[in-house]
Symmetry: C2
Subunit: 121 residues, 2 copies
Amino acid sequence: MTKQIINIQEKFSRFSEQWSPKIIAQMNDYHFKLARVEGDFTWHGHKDTDEVFLIIEGELRIDFRDGNVTLHEGELFVVPKGVEHKPFAEKECKILLVEPAGTVNTGDVGGDQTAKDNIWI
Amino acid sequence: MTKQIINIQEKFSRFSEQWSPKIIAQMNDYHFKLARVEGDFTWHGHKDTDEVFLIIEGELRIDFRDGNVTLHEGELFVVPKGVEHKPFAEKECKILLVEPAGTVNTGDVGGDQTAKDNIWI
C-alpha cells in the first residue's frame, strides 16, 4: 500500500494563486482542497451539497443573505446545501475545503472566478 | 439559517475521554469527529469506507500490516477502505477524523475500545 503523508503547509508552499482550490486528498468520492483567498469572491451556492471550510491561517468572512460569520484559524464551518454565500478575506487567508469531487468553486453561477476543479498538488 | 462556528480547540476542552470520538459537524452524510488518543488502539479496518486523519496536536503512528506512518500536527492521512490499521500515540494526541456517519471506531472488530458513535459535542 502507498503511504502518502500530506503536510498541509508544505502543500500550500507549492502554489500562490488565489481563489484556485488545489486537491490534496480524496476520501471515497470527496476531495480535500487547499485554497488561498483574498478580497471578494462571487455570490454562489451549491445546490447539491454542503461545503466545509476549515481555516488554516488568517481570517475569513462568509456573507449570507441573512447575515455573516467571521472565521479564524482552527475554526470550521459548514455551508448548507443550496445556501448562497460570498467569502471575503481582507488579507490572504489559507483554507481547507471538503466537498464532493467535481464541486465547482462558483457553484451554479460561473464567471471569471471559476477555477479548474481537478488540479492535484 | 443557523450559523454555528465550530472552534476545534474549544470543542476539545469539552471532553477528556480517550479513544472516544465526538462529532462536531456533519457535511451531507459525513461526520467530522474529534478524538483524544493515547497508547495502543486495536487492529481494525473499515470495509466500506476510507477514513481521514488530520493531526491537530501531537504525534500519531499508524501501523499497517506492511509498514507504518508517523503523523505530526498539520498532517493528513487517508486510510483506504478495507486496510487494516492500528493507531498508536506515545503521548496524548488530538485528531480530527472525517468519515461517513455511523462509522464505528473499531470497524468490524468490536471489543472494549468500541465507542458510542453518535455523541455530539
